[in-house]
Symmetry: D2
Subunit: 365 residues, 4 copies
């Protein structure tokens, strides 16, 4: 229970550090008969990969996955799938500074407090490098969801700093829309400004936060459990488990605080030509009622903090407890948002895949 | 895995419906030797109880708990603790309307989609009535946390509609402050206005949302796991598992979206007379870094939607799929916030109790 | 993880002590739509009940179950089912002796070592009284298995002392055969001798061990997981989790130690008129190959030790560490076997119900 | 919940097949600060390795482990440890026969029934090859148990066919005694006969079963949970999860069936010079009372069936359902016992390591 597993039936377990030999995930519970190869993982891994564009960190990692088990003759066998991604760019660096200083906003001090020691190699297990295998597992989840129920999970950047995208219909955004620019914002009018802002942050040796929106379409009504494992609860946990997430909301989110019930409730309307089942026209409930999917698109948003590592000097304390300053020399992202998108999608897909199987276990389909 | 259990080592499992015989919780993993009696549960149960004040629902429940096991001669034995709270006010009501109509904003339709049937007795398992035993379990968690580490968990109402309380130092708010008024807002200047607003909602047959803030002080640095079971992730799940929560944030929360790293990072400062360990002065990180507690107060906020059940007619659909209207006749809260506070505290305490034991399992203390 | 839950998808959690208010079980994961009432539980509870015949303990318990949740209008709802069985015969007794002495063969000393205290009320949580709610849950599992797949689970007494029953075709034994005598042995020729032996044990203030055989028919091929959660592994755990079980075997069991492969392998034979699928004629593999059900009857045996509590004086040690003697005054079974049968059946049914749902989760049926 | 994880707090998750790229284990929950390197794993891996002596299979595997994570500067970090063992001898073989025939005694038919397909490469996931990483994980568990509590786990061969070793004091057998001959039997008088018998089986193209005894010394009183997760239950599951195990017993085992309580009970005796705590002189309870360790040596026995794969022709059925014969051409063990010993030890050590941490979680030490 040291927290390296996620999910109940579609379940992943991970290991690996930023500057060790590599990262590995074991995915348990995948049904047999799904076509799967390393090719299927490359797309999302490339979207998460460092060094992918001028507005991300320049660390170079090819992130080439090796499927070690669970696939035979091009199909999943039903047994556990292990995927290994070796680290490549373990640049020999001068750890002297970081070794004895606590980086503000990082897990250095809390790791030390927890374990009584510190893996100072670029953050060790607390580095975002561990998300590579989450993204690989998420790609498997997406395949299963698409094949079983036609579910699609798409994420994008909704806000960078004070620049907020206009996305009137989240459920219509496609992967192509998202990938049409390097900041992954479907509002092309503002995407350019976001890129400029991020480049300015790099030049000012600073960083900037933002908001990512995540949308799942095609989810049948009925997924999620009524009490603790509400779909919103498992999605909330999934997104908060990603580095740098300080807030999660769905549907109307924090706006509900100032709303009346008569404004906020989404009235049910009968089935019609376009929607062959009872539905709502508005979607302030973000696709979940009582924590169970309603059949409407699931829409979530995450607040991502600005990167903590900064090339500019910041006041801090060393392990001896003395005041000092630190300026990170490593290669970091001036804004986490573009690379966050595939991570967020992966976590949403993993939760949905899990609840897909949970629903099938209890209800038979 | 039907989602009626919560936690790994300090683990509760619940059962019960709104209008059945009662609700029961089994708490597993509580260390032996803790003094415990039904008395210890009454305080928080009274704070959650319906009918407690003029601004809550008028359903009357005494919520008298019976400890069925796990306590002997006034102390926990180390074996599983079962607590039963029988329902009393199962008023014989006319279910005709609700039985065949889907209430907007409720789980009626999603339950039906999930299970193929519906427990229409006031919401069945999806009613907030199930939180009574969560609050009882939370009281046990609070006792353990206080005794083992001096941890205190206090929640309060931060916002109702557009009325936002001024709470400059969340970590200094006491239970007495919170309980000084029936809306549970420590800013007495605005509490009166909140009460008025809620009463106005009732008279207008409407409801209003809000924000609750939850604070845990005394949590040692080092709790939480580095990857999936980050403390923030488990707290996020815990709070999203409560009815009506549409958003959760901690520390600076959604404000980080428009901040720079140089603004947002909390610099570490050396130990001093008042704080005998490395700490931060600001607390935009809300007491968690890398998902692990930093020793600073943990500060979270939840967005709570306005009650969905409304005495005014709302458009909806019946089980036959035809358009109709519904006006709830039951006794409901015009604002969920005052009764949410003990529920939110309970969930925070349960997560902390779990991670307290998890830390002890791996690290020995 | 204090071990009061069992199963993954069909999952029970229990609480309760021998001389407290009662025992409770929460069953999570039961599919909706199963007809269920307290009546369904009474049969097996009566078979487990103390005081049922002259060869069992004379403690009187009616073991009347109350379903607290999860059933509405006579059918399971899909949400968690809580069942409460209150204790009745909590005879005011003189605990002086037992309070300070460790009963040989009992958990007194190990409980004390574990928890640092002792619930001396008749064994507390380590009493076989906790099995009452397992049997109730097992009755629910049996209903589901029968309805979904026609699975039947039947147990009986195979051996008492040196008296071994002749049961040539375990898969043909019916509940009626088992219940045709109070010792629950389908070999009526030897059942009478077994009863005499048990009565002699009582008169000699001693007890006697035995072997119970458990048979599940109708289990489809394919249940069980290939590595850790082999069906044989989960069944083994289930049976070892019952009090007094010192050995478990299936199929040829310990006899395989002296067999050759050419003798032990069960050859596969083609489908024929009576068995419309590939099968084996012999069943030394006890219905499981590679830990996965083969479609043949599952046949297990448990070795049950003679009751440890004896009315005759036995040497032991008190809590002060001094030598003393103890003679149990309570009402105990001179042979555990007759009452073990429904407990063993329940545990087998619970494991099968769990794997039934697990198979459905991953494979869809 | 597809059964590729084991343990609650000291938890392993595995993946890998007989003839795929390799096997991998992720161990979660290991405390930080344990010295660990690949060297520590080699001893037990060599004892499990195929091709180790003339009485085992001649498949050649060097079983060289690579630690991918969780160890830094020679010590465990507290985060998840991944160990990879690549397969080497994936001899290009003629699968034609095995591909379409069900080998008697193997999981071929049950895998097919479960998953709807078959990984015919030497058994795929159901091959004993997956135990390599269990043994590696067991070596880590042994290190922790030895360092924390001085616990030692030793296994040996007690019986091969009708040859039964004389081992009067199981708790005194050392690793050196066990390793003094290739059959791993500490009774040197009979070890030679066992080796001869196994060689004869190979020459007769047959195989032979046996019994392995497993002993854990130094286990403190108090480990194990009182109800479902009794120490005996978790040990029973662990051993039944190994291939070819058809029976498990501890202490007096199946002999209790014909014993009286007055014979079977182990009387407690006061502490004395050699044993500074209350103990028993006899150990018919095998070190566990009420499923909780008593402080006496834990003694278990497993019945292992004769290898199912035989070079001699056996009647069987092909996938088309037609009668045929099969003679396995692969390289198999004529007796599984010598290589079973380290597997059995590993599973015992993993269970004890898990309960060590569970005890610490709830009780603090």
């Amino acid at each position: 229970m040291a927290g390296n597993s996620f999910g109940q039936l579609f379940r992943l377990t991970t290991a690996g550090e930023s500057h060790g030999p590599g990262n590995v995930v074991i995915i348990d519970g995948v049904p047999p008969g799904l076509e799967l190869s390393e090719e299927d993982l490359l797309g999302d891994l490339a979207r998460r990969r460092p060094g992918q564009s001028k507005i991300t960190t320049q660390r170079q990692e090819s992130d080439q996955p090796e499927i070690l088990s669970g696939v035979f003759e091009g199909e999943t066998t039903g047994t556990s799938i292990a995927i290994l991604i070796r680290n490549q760019d373990q640049r020999s660096r001068d750890y002297t500074e970081i070794k004895d200083k606590y980086r503000p906003g990082h897990a250095d001090l809390t790791f030390d407090a927890k374990y009584g020691h510190r893996d100072y190699r670029g953050g060790g297990r607390s580095s975002a490098r561990e998300t590579s295998v989450r993204v690989a597992a998420g790609a498997v989840a997406k395949k299963m969801l698409r094949q079983f129920h036609g579910v699609e999970v798409v994420g994008y950047v909704r806000q960078v700093g004070n620049l907020v995208a206009n996305v009137p219909d989240p459920e219509t955004v496609t992967l192509a829309d998202v990938e049409s620019n390097i900041v992954r914002c479907p509002d092309s009018a503002i995407a350019g400004q976001m890129i400029e802002l991020i480049e300015r942050m790099r030049s000012e040796r600073d960083s900037i936060g933002g908001v990512s929106e995540l949308v799942a379409t095609g989810v049948p009504a009925g997924w999620g459990e009524p009490v603790f494992d509400k779909l919103k609860a498992d999605l909330g946990k999934a997104l908060f488990s990603l580095p740098a997430v300080l807030g999660v909301e769905y549907g109307a989110g924090f706006r509900v605080a100032s709303m009346r019930g008569s404004e906020n409730n989404d009235p049910f309307v009968p089935a019609d030509d376009q929607t062959p089942r009872i539905h709502t026209v508005s979607n302030r409930h973000g696709g979940m009622l009582g924590g169970i999917s309603s059949g409407m698109p699931i829409v979530l948003r995450c607040a991502i903090k600005p990167t903590s590592s900064l090339p500019q000097p910041q006041p801090t304390v060393n392990r001896a407890g003395e005041a000092t300053t630190i300026a990170t020399k490593g290669r970091h992202d001036p804004c986490l948002l573009p690379r966050f998108v595939p991570m967020g999608e992966a976590m949403v897909a993993l939760v949905l895949a899990d609840h897909c199987l949970r629903q099938r276990a209890q209800m038979g389909s």
